[in-house]
Symmetry: none
Amino acid sequence: MIQTVIVDDQEMFRESLKILIQSSGDINVLGCASGVTEALQMMEAEQPDVVLMDMRMPGKDGVEGTRLIKSRWPEIKVIVLTTFDDDEYVFGALKYGASGYILKGSSIGELASAIRIAYGGGALINPGIATKVISQFSAMAKGNEVIHVDEASAADLNDNERKIIKAVGHGMSNREISGKLYLSEGTVRNYISNILLKLGLRDRTQLAIWAVQNGMAMQDSDWNG
Amino acid sequence: MIQTVIVDDQEMFRESLKILIQSSGDINVLGCASGVTEALQMMEAEQPDVVLMDMRMPGKDGVEGTRLIKSRWPEIKVIVLTTFDDDEYVFGALKYGASGYILKGSSIGELASAIRIAYGGGALINPGIATKVISQFSAMAKGNEVIHVDEASAADLNDNERKIIKAVGHGMSNREISGKLYLSEGTVRNYISNILLKLGLRDRTQLAIWAVQNGMAMQDSDWNG
DNA sequence: TCAAAAATATGACAATTGTCATTTTGGCAT
DNA sequence: ATGCCAAAATGACAATTGTCATATTTTTGA
């Protein structure tokens, strides 16, 4: 029997959901909570296998809830319920390790199978949202980069140039970079001008994008800038 | 009736899979192919809704197959089948837009529901693999974010603002953006000024970095800029 | 239909940025 | 020390960018 907890601020929704879920036979609802805080309290006493959590809630929302639950009990699976597919929320929740992201409009069958899948360690992502996640993933895993630079040019960047690129990739201004690297502001400008020429880019914005997409912004994290 | 094609080099496997799938009632197997090339030929004549593709195959493997199919028919969903969870393959296939990644050991029920989910535009990722994808996702997204914006502010961005952010995330200048969106250059500047205020950022470079890191630069690919 | 609200535009301004030609500086080999 | 060379700096300049106050236009709703 899979044990679950439902977190939703609307009483009617969570109670009816409870009945529906329990009718599926192999899934039990340990309890319902009207908010993240209440859910955490409830879970101190007894931990479920899977938490069903509404995304939009007054006070702490589902992203925050996911974060709190996963940091306290990493083995508990969280399925996020939403009435719409807001990108911000999707990425936020997945970032903190949600095992699923499904629309409230889904059928009870879909929900039940999402719970079973999450329980087994899998992840189910709803139509529409899946597309976005995957495209995000593709982007991160490279392939459709927005800014292109041929590898040859990228190869002959010296150490200082890389430091500067990294700084630009962190969103620093020339003045800030000059302070950080003990160079004059003019020198930083000259460096950047050179780098842009080498890489065939137009301005620092394109350079920053390229830096981020190639992970240059986070290598040798010696500074935490 | 959902139409599918099975691609697997082992005849026994694909034929028995065909029978199993067709027994599910709402899913039909248009045909089977022993390799990627054969599958592509077959699909020239008639396109399925979903392709089930083995990962490990002599010649072109599942990653290459996914790439070829998605580039020729982007609307066709691809579910990748594998006997083991090799990271390389997982990420490779997802990169090219696979809608699912499931183990050959899955039950026929799981497979059928994966097909239905993929058909509806969703994505199903199997246990074990999901963990890797999500942890990979978290690793990429968490911690190494260079530019931070509190989620509340990010939430109340309207449609136009998002379009502009996306453009900035592509490295476009104000003039270019104004041309693309049919706004005056001044309006674009005002928009950006507003966005920066909302998000608590300083300049377009920081905005671009944030956009890229949050995948805003590649949503709703209506322009391929 | 009219007024309020919103989206879009304008113009002026300072700050930042990118480019370039031209020094100055600081090793460092002979 | 002398000369050489690269790194660093300077100053001038145009272009772009960001901010702000203020129109103008379009949409919306009562």
